[in-house]
Amino acid sequence: MGGNISITGLSRPLTQEYRPRPDFFRMACLLASVLTIVLLALIIGEILVRAWPAMSKFGLGFITGIQWSPNRGVFGVLPVLIGTAASSFLALLLALPLGLAIAIFLSEDFFPRPVRQVIRFVVETLAAIPSVVYGLWGIFVVIPLVQQYGAVLAAKFGFIPFLAGPAYGNSLLTAGLVLALMVLPTITAISRSSLVAVPYTLREGSYALGATRWETILRVIMPTAAPGIVASAILGFGRAMGETMAVAMLIGNSQRLSWSLLSPSNTLSALLANQFAEADGIQVSALMYAAALLVLLTLGVNIAGEVVLRHTQKATAGLR
């Protein structure tokens, strides 16, 4: 007796030796992620390569130049940059209070849950409407309204530079109004989730201390959610800057610098959409330069928005 007989009476091991195999699933996911980053880098690279002739020819004078005349070889985008910033800013000015109000309404229980869900769904559907449909609606509805009331405003308040006449239908104001409608879903959705993320302990503590509902909303909840609301504003701004079709159809595409909201203007994306198909020679390169500026602006704004949003989530997580 003796020897190597184990308790179970078997002579070979129960488990097989563990041999590590490559994790194919992980590799596939990694590949997909890297591909996305590579694609973005390639797009930016291609734009910069094509813009190089214009960049070396015009330098920074391109950004400060006022005249854009392809038939003369003169290219300058200052009015366009101002128009881009102005239309997005105007859109934000109109959409932020409205979006915030809707977000507060959706995060409190003024109305029963089904009503809130319907409103939330409708606001999010606004984001699903294609840009060109907004443009068409703007042409047939908003332009006549702006023309009519703009003429009245210009007549009465024309001494204010922002409302100086003559009032055009295709103007900065029209584009700003329609853009506001387009960024409203973004602002509402993100603000609502920031408001909802404020922990109940803060709400209940505030009520326990005797604050009214509105005091709680305005003094406790909104300041806590403020970074998220700021992030929504920045992301909305970024969205407004990139909007193309609706703006190209409504803004009047004019290169002239003007203070008035009621005169036509231009944005970088509208410029590109309008002129790219028929451009040749140095004009293509100049348009690519404008595209590079647009990418820089929108990427910059979106990254800033993401950073602020990330910071918010960390901040409110610590409160729970």
Partner: protein, 355 residues
């Protein structure tokens, strides 16, 4: 060929008995479809370019394919500039352009291009002025002044002088122009350049120019929309668009001093007086005849002199011949001008040289 395919089908049929019947049927169906398509050796032509010529070229393609079942023709309206580019890169077999190729562009294809006038159009001033239903007369000085911004209001004496029977309102003039680069703008500004040195120095000509005044909109459709919606607006559009959208058009003064209303006949008169040179590149920026409408232009089909694929050369010749003969009949219906007979003869002669 068909027999071989048929035998293959039978053999495969027996081998497929082991698979599920649905898969077998699918494979059978696709093999049969493939054998059917073996019969036709279709030539396909692709073209792209001018948006102005697109409606008529696409109609020609449609009608031509009905009569010639073994040739497919496809035309996409991407703009004259892109059309020339794609034709030069041999991405397309033919191109359409409102502005003939420049010498530099011809050099890029080593001269392997023929520019054939296919149809023509006129550019009109369409306006929307309350109180002026039809028949506004504009002298050269007036319409250049409107475009440069020196004539700012409808009751300006310059306009009133030639239109005594209208009560012109005290309304500011809103000029509607094109925001996108286009052959229409190219032709229009070429005419203005020819008649006004002031315009040539201040604005110049080209597919995309900076207008000193006005609201710019995208495409002929955009300009039409601005004109229709803005009382006191005036803008330039293709004649076909103005006709189809029932816009009121102004009569312009031509070089001879007469006020000509834009119609198919006045446009045809302009074209008839043009003498096409050897290379068929003619720009009629300021026609001289007494009844000529001042702003008219051909639109060209760009074809190669030598095609590497002989079947394509035959197909291109057949298509262009169709357009020049039967196709001209539908031009007025779509708002284009029928090519005069002498032009057709010259173009057909040039077409015969394609191999």
């Amino acid at each position: 060929m068909k027999g071989v395919v048929f035998l293959a089908v039978i053999k495969l049929n027996s081998q497929l008995n082991s698979l599920k019947s649905m898969t077998r049927n699918f494979l059978l169906a696709s093999l049969l479809t493939a054998s059917v398509f073996q019969i036709k050796a279709a030539t396909s032509l692709t073209g792209s370019g001018s948006t102005f010529a697109a409606p008529i070229l696409q109609r020609w393609a449609f009608n031509f394919q009905k009569e010639n079942r073994d040739i497919t023709v496809n035309y996409q309206s991407v703009g004259s500039g892109a059309g020339i580019k794609q034709f030069s890169d041999s991405i397309t077999d033919f191109g359409g352009s409102d502005v003939a190729m420049s010498d530099a562009e011809i050099a890029k294809v080593n001269g392997n291009v023929l520019m054939l006038p296919a149809t023509a159009g006129t550019i009109v001033f369409a306006y929307n002025v309350p109180g002026v239903p039809d028949g506004l007369k504009l002298t050269r000085e007036t319409y250049v002044g409107i475009l440069l911004g020196t004539v700012k209001s409808w009751n300006d004496p310059l306009i009133a002088k030639n239109n005594p029977n209208f009560k012109l309102p005290n309304l500011p003039i809103t000029v509607a122009v094109r925001s996108d680069g286009s052959g229409t703008t190219g032709v229009f500004t070429a005419h203005l350049d020819a008649i006004s040195p002031e315009f040539a120095s201040k604005v110049g000509s080209g597919k995309s120019v900076t207008w000193p005044v006005g609201v710019a909109a995208k495409g002929n459709e955009g300009v039409t929309a601005v004109i229709k919606q803005t009382p006191g607006a005036i803008g330039y559009v293709e004649f076909g668009y103005a006709e189809n959208n029932k816009l009121t058009m102004a009569s312009l003064q031509n070089k001879a001093g007469n006020f000509i209303t834009p119609t198919i006949e006045s446009g045809a008169a302009t074209l008839a007086s043009v003498k096409l040179p050897e290379n068929l590149r003619a720009f009629v920026t300021d026609p001289e005849g007494a009844n000529d409408y001042p702003i008219a232009s051909f639109t060209w089909l760009l074809v190669k002199k030598t095609y590497t694929d002989a079947a394509k050369a035959v197909a291109v010749k057949a298509f262009v011949t169709y357009g020049l003969t039967t196709g001209q009949a539908i031009a007025p219906e779509l708002g284009y001008i029928t090519l005069p007979a002498n032009v057709v003869t010259q173009v057909q002669a040039a077409l015969a040289t394609i191999k």
